[in-house]
Structure formats: C-alpha cells, structure tokens
C-alpha cells in the first residue's frame, strides 16, 4: 500500500531495481493494468495533503493571531464597540470547529475571503494575478530545465572535467546568494537596457503584437534572475542521474555495437537518467512558485508573488491566507503530476 503524502515521489525517484530473478516475469506485458487504481490512490493522497494544508493554514491564520481585529485595525483608531462588531461579523466568537468547517466550506467553493487592502474578494485578486505569475514561472522553468539538463548531462558524463568543475562552482555561488539580491544587481547593471519593473509600459498603450514584444522586454530580467537561481538544481539532478548510469553494463553493450560516445550518451544514458530526474524536476517546479515571490517583489511583476508581498504590508491576513492556499495547492498538484509522469514514462514501473 503506497504511503500517502508527498514523500512518496521521493521514494519513486530512486526506484528499487526491479526484482530480476533468473526465472522472473515471463509472458505478456501488463502495462497499464494498474493505472486507474494508481491514479485514484495518488488523488486520494493529494486530497489528504491538501486537507492537511488547509488545517495548518487555518491554524496559522485563524487561531494564532492574538486578536485579529486588533491586527486588522492596527494604526486606525477604533472604538471598543466597533471592535466587538467586527468580531461578530467575522464570526470570531463561534467555537473553533465551527469556524474550521465554515472555512473549509468557503475554501472548497472558491470563496477565499475578502482582502482588507484591496477591498476585493481574494479569489478575484488571485484570478487577476495568476496569469503573469504563470508566464514568468513557465518561461523561467522551461529555460532552466533545458539549460540545467544540458549542463547536467555534460557535467556528469565527464565528471571531474573542466565543464563539471566550472558548472559546479557557478551553481554553488548562485545558490549562496539571495534571489532578490541577484535581481537587484541585474537591475542596476541593466539600467537603460531593460525596463526597471512591471510587466508592460502603460505609457505605450500597445496592443497585439507590440504588446507581446513589450511584455517580452519586461520579462527578460525577472526571468533571467529566476533562471540563474534555479537552473543549478536541475544541473545537480541530471548530473547525479547521469553519474548513476555511468557504470551500467548496457552502456558497454552500446559502445560494443560501434556507437560513438555522443550516441551512447544521447540514445542510452540520457533516457535512463531522465527518468528519476523527471520526478524531482516536477517537485522542484512546485518550489519555483515560492521563488517567484521575491523576484516579483523586486521587479514589481504583477503576479501572485507581488500580491503576497503587498499583503505583507498591513498585514492583509485574508489575502495572505488565500495566497498561502494557492501556493500550497500548486505544490501538491506538481507533486501529483510528478508521480503520474514518472509512472507513464518508466516501462518498469508501468508493468508493476
């Protein structure tokens, strides 16, 4: 029985070498025999994870603040009567379990609360800002993955060589600085070359293709910042995967067939090394979301991360709660996708 919770993908990433007894599985393939069952199991696990996230979110945002109405009205003179009224309005006098249940109901129906700052439902704010974040993250993820995998393959194939050492040193250095600092440095370096912030230039009033170019122009620096910080992870993942494959006998078979070194690497080593990497890559995609917070803050990129940053100023608790739930959900979804993709790609796991 599979262990529920997101730890499962980690164990899948390094599957136990499938049992190969001398007289093992003979006979026809049973490829997608268990897929629906597997899918159902993973969905249940993801649902449980999400539920736990909601509990933790509830605890943090509703039970911990000493007095939410005081926090809410911080800095604004309010009478005791008004505070009492607010408490009644927010249902703060109800017993905990009742508040949790109504919280649960609200969240699951998409009712994420009302932002104090923006005077708007949190859900609509999230809806507005989701697109830009997906654009930024999607582009950054794609570039990082391609760059990271390529560097990882070549670093690992000749590990200890020049490329390996340079890539490792660069990765370590880039990991050791805060993301937002890199963003600021890039901004200073590129004053006048690239826009200093935002997603598009309001003065331009561009439409259609011009708008796309304008957004792309604004996308360069934030995307570059994210890539610099994140690609190192993918290099590491792919590099260690390739190194794991290096000693495998089937590579010797491939060489004996007369394939060139590059062909052996490309056709045999890389596909095998990609498998465990895919799972970890998807899991890391989930954390990319959090990385977006600092980058969007630095570049005033109008996404979920920037929304969170602005929410911290009051602090706008309902909005923070909303973004917390959205971020957590995205991680859970990514982990779920990771499991599924691995399952679909690895012929050994498929038949299991």
């Amino acid at each position: 029985m599979s262990e529920p919770g997101p730890a499962a993908p980690v164990t899948l990433a390094t599957p136990a070498t499938p049992a190969t007894p001398a007289n093992g599985v003979a006979g026809g393939s049973k490829r997608s025999a268990g897929l629906p069952g597997y899918l159902a199991g993973r969905l249940v696990a993801a649902a449980v994870s999400f539920l736990v996230t909601l509990v933790i979110g509830f605890v943090i945002f509703n039970l911990m603040p000493a007095d939410p109405v005081r926090t809410l009205t911080r800095g604004r003179p309010t009478s005791e009567a008004q505070l009492e009224q607010l408490r009644l309005q927010l249902g703060l006098d109800d017993p905990v379990w009742m508040r949790f249940l109504s919280f649960l109901k609200d969240t699951l129906t998409g009712e994420l609360g009302y932002s104090w700052q923006f005077q708007q439902p949190v859900a609509s704010l999230v809806g507005e800002r989701l697109g830009p974040t997906l654009l930024l993250m999607g582009t950054a993820a794609a570039v990082s993955i391609v760059l990271g995998l390529w560097l990882g393959v070549h670093s690992g194939w000749r590990h200890g060589g020049a490329l390996d050492r340079v890539a490792s040193a660069a990765s370590l250095t880039l990991w050791s600085v805060p993301t937002f600092w890199l963003g600021m440095i890039l901004l200073v370096l590129c004053i006048g070359i690239f826009p200093a912030g935002g997603m598009s230039d309001p003065a331009l009033n561009a439409t259609g293709f011009d708008y796309v170019i304008d957004v792309a122009n604004h996308l360069v620096l934030p995307c570059l910042t994210m890539v610099l910080v994140v690609f190192a992870q993918y290099v590491t993942i792919m590099r260690s995967s390739i190194i794991d494959e290096l000693g495998s006998p089937y590579l010797l078979t491939a060489r004996a067939k007369g394939l060139t070194d590059a062909e052996v690497r490309r056709r045999h080593a890389v596909p095998n090394a990609l498998l465990p990497s895919v799972t970890v890559i998807f899991m890391h995609l989930g954390t990319l979301v959090s990385g977006a917070i600092t980058v969007e803050a630095v570049y005033s990129w109008p996404g979920l991360g920037h929304l969170t940053y602005e929410a911290l100023k009051i602090p706008d608790l309902p909005l923070l709660q909303g973004t917390f739930i959205v971020f957590s959900a995205s991680v859970i979804i990514m982990n779920l996708l990771a499991d599924l993709v691995y399952r679909l790609l690895d012929p050994r796991v498929r038949a299991a």
Partner: protein, 321 residues
C-alpha cells in the same frame, strides 16, 4: 588460409601498476571456437574486451590484435567502430542489465543493423523479428522491455542481437553464469548451433571449465593475466600439461570424464595481486610441483603436444611453437 584473429603480446595495464593482462598471444581461425578459462581476476574478461578496445579509458592496451590482418589497436576510431559488431560482436551476461531497460528489445536488436547497414527501419525490424525467432523468443514480443523476460530469454535476446550484423566473430563473456543449469545447457546448445550453421568463430569466456569443454574446440587457460596453456579441449581436459589447468579440471567436473567423479580438490592459497612483478611462474606459490627455477626463471609457452602449448618448466622446451 590466414587466421581470422591474430593476437600478439597483448598487455593491459591500469594506472599506476596493475597489470591485468600480460603478454597474451594466440590465433583463431574462421569458424573456430576458443574457450578462455580462469578464475576471477585472471584477466580473461579484460583480455576479451581489450581485443575491441572496449575497456575503460584508464586502461593502457599494447600489443597487436590483427583482425583479418588489420591491427585493431592502432586502427582509426571510425574503422574500429565499423568493425565492432559487424565484424566482431559481443554477448554479455544478459541476465544483468546489459540490455537498456527503457527500450524495447526489438529496437535494441535493430539498432546495430541500422548503424552498420543501409537498410530501412522496416527491413531492420523484420530482420530483428527473424533473429528472435531463430533464438526461440516469439517475434511478437519484439516490443517488450527487458524486464518482462526471464534470465534465459534475455540471454537469447543478447545472442540474437549479437548475430544481427552477421559477424565473423562473437566474443561471449560469461554468457551463462547467472543462469541455472537447465537453462544454461539450452542457451549453450542454441549458441553452438547458430555459430556452427553460420561458420562464426567464437571466443567464449567462463570460469566454469565444464561449460567450455562441452562447447569449444580449443581451450585457453589464463592465470594472473598470463596465458598458461592452450590447446584442443579434449586434450586439456584429460591430459593437461599445466598444473593449474589440472586443478581447474578437478574443480569443475566434466560430465563424461571418469576422473571427475571423485570429489574436486580445492586449491590452497590465493592468486597473486596484479600489482606484483611476478618474475617467474605466477602459479609457483600454489603449485604442488614447483621447483626453485619456477619462482625465478621466466616461463614461456612451449609445445606440449600437437597444437598444444603450456607455460610450464616441466614441459621440455622443444622447437618454438
């Protein structure tokens, strides 16, 4: 007729001072089967892989390996790659992961065909299916993956793969070691039949003398990186000239040989470390017949019978082989 393969003074050293193969030489004619026996660490696999320069980059290989007159050790890389598989292919232990786990076996068999010959994908797949049939694996399973087969079937797939480009020589490295006795016999019989029909020469490596004696015309015995005896298998099994070969025969009883019916005697001691120089006979410390000269004088292969050489001082040095 010139021999198919002529090996002279093949030496393989790993840095800093590990001499895995020391001055091995032999010839192989077309269609001949040669078994190479020896315990672990004797250098037999290293020697076989060294023939096609398949060893790790840290290995230094010297000597001559003439395949149809052409020295593979000094050949250009592209020439070597052309000879690989199309001239000489390899059967590895398929039970372990010598097959790519994430590609279908049909594809893996077709791969060298597409590499070495100008044929269409369809043609290559057709030939792969035919090869599977030949080795007794249903061609319908060409789309299955290695883990879906048993050990014996995987070994057959490896044989099919080795035959794909119609080579003149097959090097079989421990082809049956991980298999149980019944399956082992089946696979060996299959291999013998196929190479006989096609006139393919075979170099078969094993630590199990009984396997080799049953399938190969000639036997070569290696110890501590050196070739210590080589000759017709029937002669070596019954009338071994080298004490080590005798010991090996006792350890692996050969079915049909009455002398093996007695309990095999173990060999005391361990093989020498490969970093040692070994001036005299490497086997001297463990040899029941060793004399003083054995430990200090270098021993070369000398004739011990028709087409039979042994590197032992007890064999009188006659005309050079």
């Amino acid at each position: 007729m010139s021999p198919l393969l002529e090996v002279r003074d093949l030496t393989v050293t790993y840095r800093p001072d590990v001499r895995a193969v020391r001055g091995v030489g032999f010839t192989l004619d077309a269609g001949q089967t040669l078994g190479v026996a020896g315990e672990s660490g004797s250098g037999k696999s290293t020697m076989a892989l060294g023939l096609l320069r398949l060893l790790a980059p840290g290995a230094r290989v010297t000597g001559e390996v003439r395949y149809r007159g052409e020295d593979l050790l000094t050949a250009r890389w592209s020439r070597l790659r052309a000879v690989r598989w199309a001239g000489a292919s390899v059967v590895f232990q398929g039970a372990m992961s010598a097959l790519n786990p994430v590609r279908a076996i049909g594809e893996q068999i077709a791969e060298p065909i597409l590499l070495h010959e100008r044929v269409s994908r369809r043609e290559a797949r057709k030939r792969a299916a035919e090869l599977l049939d030949k080795v007794g694996v249903p061609a319908a399973r060409a789309g299955d993956f290695p883990h879906e087969f048993s050990g014996g079937q995987r070994q057959r797939v490896m044989i099919a793969m080795a035959l794909a480009c119609r080579p003149e020589l097959i090097i079989a490295d421990e082809p049956t070691t991980a298999l149980d006795a019944v399956v082992q016999a089946q696979v060996l019989e299959l291999l013998s039949e196929l190479v006989r029909d096609a006139g393919i020469a075979v170099i078969m490596i094993s630590h199990d003398l009984s396997v080799l004696a049953g399938t190969c015309d000639r036997l070569a015995v290696m110890y501590a990186g050196r070739l210590v005896e080589i000759g017709p298998s029937k002669r070596l099994v019954g009338q071994a000239a080298h004490p080590y070969t005798e010991a090996l025969c006792r350890a692996f009883p050969v079915i049909g040989d009455p002398a093996s019916r007695y309990a095999p005697a173990g060999l005391p001691g361990d093989p020498p470390r490969l970093t040692e120089q070994l001036p005299g006979c490497a086997f001297a410390p463990r040899c029941p017949h060793a004399g003083d000269a054995c430990r200090t004088e270098p021993v070369s292969l000398r004739p011990a019978g028709p087409d039979h050489l042994a590197a032992c001082l007890r064999v009188p040095e006659g005309e050079p082989a």
